[in-house]
Amino acid sequence: MNPWQWFLAHGDKLLATLTAWLSSPQGQSAIPSAWAPTIAGVLTLVHLLFLPEPSSAPTVATPTATGKQSGRTSLTFLAMVLAIVLAACATFGGLSLDEKLGAAQISVTNVVKAATTAVQAGTLSSANAQSVLNMAQGAKDIIATARADEAAGNTTGASTELTLATSALTALQTFLNDKAGAAAQPPPAAPQPAVGPKTSYYARDPAEPFLACTES
């Protein structure tokens, strides 16, 4: 497999690793820009959507799969939106607790907006959208509690609530990942290509810690 073939097959993992590194404290100190992980995330999406599958795989006629676009639903995009937003959020170092709460709430709002777009486009079921809405409302309630704690001078409690809100967002991400992964499963009768489908970064281990707006 030449380097281009390798990139076609594994580039998404490479870009996702780059995104994760840019969101890490080491990456932030190297490139202190919130846009770096955003750009890396966009490149990952471009890789997933627009680059072809490795041509070394034999051409297999399948009734349902016509490229990388098939099997990838808006759930994947929603997960990516959340991942990009949280990655960008993680790079805003030096934020106050109040600013982090605001950033977390804006993230929740934009996930809700993205879910609305997906439902209206018919690519997200009403049941899944209702789950997204419920989880977003849960995160909003936690953020509201954190603000109340902060206003009362209970910064420790507010920080704890912020951690909970981040956990809620991570749970939402896991939910979207799971749904996207299930939606991306090939039909049972479909023949598998010799070179397997790309393993998406967003199908990662849910137990893996996710960088987000936690109190530093």
Binding site: A121, S125, L133, A136
Partner: protein
Amino acid sequence: MAAILPTVANAIDLLLAATQAASQIAGVVQSAKAAGQTILTAEQWATITGNEDSAEAQLSAAIATAKAQGK
């Protein structure tokens, strides 16, 4: 090609949502920093929570429409 276009359109919409979120966060933080604040103003929080309430209402309406269509 025609089958791909809706997917591309969705991807662009959602990417715009992501970049919009990053821009909003950056804008809120920068305005707070410029004013020497460490906390957001009541007006900023009202805007943030108002946007959330509006987004939730729109999603609820979209869900209701989808359910009515049997989706």
